[in-house]
Amino acid sequence: MNLLDTLQITASGLTAQRLRLQTVASNMANARTTRTEEGGPYKKQVPLLEAVQDDPFGSNLDRAMTRVEVMGVVESEDPPVMVHDPGHPDADAEGYVAYPNVNVLEEMVDLMTTARTYEANANVLDVTDTMANTALEIGR
Amino acid sequence: MIITAAGAPSIPITEVRSSEGVGGVGVGSGAAPKNTFADKLTKAVDGVSNQQLAADDKLAELASGENVDLHGTMIALEEAEITLRTMTSVRDKVVGAYQEIMNMSI
């Protein structure tokens, strides 16, 4: 089994989680942003993750070795949260202000799972390193 | 093995005969040579070989997941190595002693 491929898989996991962290950070920072350049409130950012096979024509085992790739970051189409506040500068004709479709509690949970998954992937990296060193000692 | 003033050596002749000689032929002793050096050597070699086989078995059990006994397996492997090295040292000493004797001028 190619050790370098394994490292690439773990690297992809770490990158994906770091990107997720960025979207969570952006969402939390903009949870109350009512105006944006395109008009309208900030829309929650959602990373799109996909499992990518490096060897789709290989054996059962080869095809199971999938990395993860971030295919893109899209904006959530969930409706904004409407709050009645006629005095607000961004209130519309009926006096409603459109707040971002970001649920801060959800983002907090995402933040925790992202951190934990990042840690798990980093742990795999450590173990890969240990196993490689053990293998190198076979002949010693 | 002191020859005292009284004259009698402290080791009887039959015992001397049965503990010398790799061939282990107890001439005229009549007793079965259970304790000859050759027997002891054979038993030791068997012991080393058995130890190696036992270590192999433990390693196979570990690898196949049948009996995951990490320290037991490692200890068995170490024991096999130690007995092998001991056996080799003994062999070297015996060969050395033999050569020394052969080089003695009569």
Binding site: T66, R116 | L84
Partner: protein
């Protein structure tokens, strides 16, 4: 001559190390895809793959020819059967990766890899000692 020196156990140990390394890679893939929608966690069912060799009463003679005698099991050691875990029905994105399960599997697999690796190393050093006529 190498067939005499490097017997079935030696080959078998090497194959077990291959399997353990492959399992490690599967764990890496699973943890990398913790959040990928629809991804199913994969693993090598060691009890099945290795158990067959043990039950035949051989000393871990895991050669491909033996595996072909059991075609129904798919227990070909060089191309092992890879099991998938189905996602629980209440999981929204269909992802079946469980971080705790992967963590346990990771450690257990690494321990076995280390144990077999060290055992192989010790056995080899014994052979080396014997082969060099008792000199280090």
């Amino acid at each position: 001559m190498s067939n005499v020196l490097f017997d079935g156990l030696h080959q078998g140990l090497g194959q077990v190390l291959d399997l353990r390394m492959s399992q490690h890679s599967l764990t890496a893939a699973n943890l990398a895809n913790t959040d990928t929608p629809g991804y199913k966690a994969k693993f090598i069912p060691f009890d099945e793959v290795l158990g067959a060799a043990v039950n035949r009463g051989e000393k871990l003679n895991l050669r491909a020819t033996h595996a072909r005698h059991n075609p129904g099991m798919g227990a070909n050691v060089s191309e092992p059967f890879v099991d998938e875990i189905e996602a629980a029905p209440w999981v929204a994105d269909g992802n079946s990766v469980d971080a705790e399960r992967e963590a346990v599997r990771l450690k257990e697999n690494a321990t076995m890899y280390g144990g077999v690796s060290r055992g192989l190393g010790k056995r080899l050093s014994l052979l080396k000692f014997a082969a060099s006529n008792g000199e280090r």
